[in-house]
């Protein structure tokens, strides 16, 4: 017995040391960005890790000085696009996955395969085509275009949520059917209330995707600075003529951008428990 526990102890120590090193490696870049955002001296590159002086000026300038870069506006643009996209695509994903999980129709299998295959191609392959489609509608360089692009295809990403719905016992649907509920009522009143973890997961992923996207935003927005998102705007600061003066503001922007996501994750964390199906059926 004693030998067992010593072996276990040494393995544990080894594992903890290893994990601590990994954690440090992962935390370092974040720490560096935060430090840089408070750095007093400008410039993109410094030969030292800890700044020589600390200031809040980077944040204040970023949020108040709109002469070159209108960060507050971009932030609101991004927030608007992300929230709307989040709502639309959560609705899409949940309804498609529920359909695929519960309804049986002839094209179900083929559609699922097509979705799987389509999912293997990177989204930006369609970039040019998407741009011309938007142009033909006359909505290129607009926030509406961004929302459309971000939410239109999300229904294809139903696999994770479908996997979750598959674990919700069918007997519950059947019991509700006998009780007199329609398909819609079953979805809203029985299935959804039991699916908090997957709803939260879907909300988070569909919020984060537009929040951090760069490629589509850059193609669609072109030079319409008014409608830029934070990803585009911040990247603009890194161009040759701005980088020296704006590098620390860029870091401040990066920190601000990560705050909503951090809040979202922390506030929804508690829903990530094993779900609430316990007690419905034996098992």
């Amino acid at each position: 017995m004693r030998k067992m526990s010593t072996v276990r102890k040494t393995t544990n120590i080894f594992v903890y040391v290893f994990l601590s090193v990994l954690a440090l490696i992962w935390v370092l870049p974040i720490l560096w960005v935060i430090l840089t955002s408070f750095r007093e001296e400008s410039g993109s590159f410094t030969p030292y890790f800890l700044p020589q002086g600390y200031t809040l000026k980077n944040y204040i300038n970023l949020l108040t000085d709109n002469s070159t870069f209108d960060f507050p506006r971009w932030f609101m643009n991004t927030l608007f696009v992300s929230v709307v996209t989040c709502i639309i695509s959560t609705f899409f994903v949940l309804s498609v996955s529920y359909t695929m999980s519960r309804l049986r129709f002839r094209l179900r299998k083929p559609l699922m395969n097509i979705a799987l295959i389509l999912g293997m191609f990177p989204g930006f392959m369609s970039m040019i085509a998407v741009y011309y489609v938007l142009k033909s509608f006359g909505i290129e360089q607009s926030l509406l275009a961004l929302i459309l692009v971000y939410s239109a295809g999300t229904g294809l990403g139903f696999y994770v949520a479908k996997g979750f719905f598959d674990t919700v016992p069918r007997a519950l649907d059947e019991a509700a059917m006998i009780d007199g509920a329609s398909r819609g009522t079953i979805f809203w009143k029985i299935t959804l209330p039991m699916s908090k973890p997957i709803i939260i997961y879907t909300l988070l992923t569909s919020f984060t995707a537009p929040w951090i996207d760069y490629i589509f935003a850059s193609v669609i927005m072109g030079d319409n600075y008014e409608n830029y998102t934070v990803a585009l705007g911040l990247f603009k600061m890194l161009e040759k003529e701005f980088i020296h003066n704006y590098y620390t503001q860029f870091a401040a922007g990066a920190v601000i951008v990560s705050i909503p996501i951090a809040i979202l994750f922390i506030s929804t964390q508690k829903f990530y428990v094993g779900g609430v199906t316990g007690g419905s059926v034996k098992g």
């Binding site: 019991a175 059917m177 006998i178 009780d179 509920a181 609430v276 007690g279 059926v281």
Partner: protein
């Protein structure tokens, strides 16, 4: 009035597998009918067709005098209790029971009255504010019954409701469900694979196998007069002994020969059956373990070798071999024989049954 009539009902699945062949049955109002059979015999499928959860591929199903084939479950005036309870996990017991009534747009006070009434009769009033997670298996089962009862359906469908409970609780719930049927005065259709449940609860038992009805009759009739070897073997525990025998004699005095021993067939059995038509042929002799005895008498008895003795407390099951046939005797007290011991076996020939060797049907 909730008579259920099934006329040549058939279920063929999309992959062209036929789960139920030509099922015809008339279930009387207030009858407690049990569908029993081994797994995959189509009993659950039949129940689900009555409920409307499975489409009926062909044939007709009536509840009362209304054709039900195309009606959705909610319009069939039925309630179903599922094997795994299927309680809504995010709702309290109260809400679970209220759900169906809310769907019917019943006024709130009336819902409350109904639920309290039902909860009192099932003794679950103290559980009303709990969620299913916080209930034990037996309590969940009771809530599931309650959820079905609040709606006053004219037909109760129960799909193996006791199979998730432990043995003691099962015996208790068996009696309670039977009592419930007496109180509610409605039609019950109950699916189980457990022949004890079937025998103790049903007014009538429908024995199914491979999608066919083998026999539908009262428990006593099934036990005493099984239609074929399957029913004979399925009903009763331990199961009936089947021994090959040769039919000898003439129309007046039929005898059978098992191993090298000859037994006389009582005249009542000769008159009531057709054993006399099989003289000279080999048939299957069926006899229940309680009618199979050990004897000290070497005349009119067969030698058998003991395989194993199961001690049941008040009695013993003695497993033996006669030639290549396995035979069980139910001995009324403790009997501790060793494997390989030779004993003499005889039968109560008044309880003998004969089955055709070709198709297993009763002769």
């Amino acid at each position: 009035m909730a008579e259920i009539i099934l006329k040549n009902v058939k279920k063929i699945y999309d992959n062209s597998y036929t789960a139920v062949h030509d099922f015809s049955l008339k279930i009387r109002d207030r009858e407690f009918v049990i569908l029993v059979g081994p797994s995959g015999c189509g009993k659950s499928t039949t129940l689900r067709m009555i409920a409307g959860l499975e489409e009926i591929s062909s044939g007709e199903m009536y509840i009362g005098d209304k054709l039900m084939n195309e009606l959705p479950p909610k319009d069939r005036d039925i309630a179903m209790v599922f094997q795994n309870y299927a309680l809504y996990p995010h709702m309290t017991v109260y809400k679970n029971m209220a759900f169906a009534l809310e769907m019917r747009k019943m006024p709130k006070e009336e819902i409350h009255k109904k639920i309290m009434e039902t909860a009192k009769s099932l003794d679950i009033v103290s559980l009303l504010e709990r969620k299913p997670k916080a209930l034990s298996g037996g309590q969940r089962q009771r809530v599931a019954l309650g959820r079905a009862m609040v709606r006053n359906p004219s037909v109760f469908l129960l799909d193996e409701p006791l199979s998730n409970l432990d043995a003691k609780l099962r015996t208790q719930m068996r009696a309670e469900i039977k009592e419930l049927h007496r109180k509610l005065k409605t039609t019950f259709v109950y699916v189980t694979h457990d022949q004890t449940e079937a025998m103790t609860m049903g007014d009538r038992i429908v024995v199914m196998k491979d999608g066919y009805i083998h026999q539908a009759d009262t428990p006593q009739e099934l036990y005493n007069n099984p239609a074929n070897t399957f029913v004979a073997g399925f009903i009763g525990s331990p199961q009936m002994n089947f021994i090959d025998c040769k039919v000898l004699g003439d129309k007046e005095k039929v005898r059978i020969k098992i191993a090298d021993t000859i037994f006389d067939v009582p005249s009542a059995i000769i008159k009531s059956g057709h054993i006399a038509d099989h003289i000279g042929k080999t048939v299957i002799f069926g006899i229940r373990p309680e009618n199979t005895f050990l004897t000290g008498n070497k005349v009119n008895s067969i030698f058998a070798n003991i395989e194993i003795c199961e001690l049941m407390g008040d009695s013993s099951y003695i497993h033996m071999k006669i030639g290549k046939d396995n035979v069980i005797s139910k001995y009324p007290s403790l009997f501790n024989g060793k494997k390989g011991d030779t004993v003499n076996v005889t039968f109560d020939m008044n309880k003998a049954l004969f089955f055709s060797k070709e198709n297993g049907f009763r002769i």
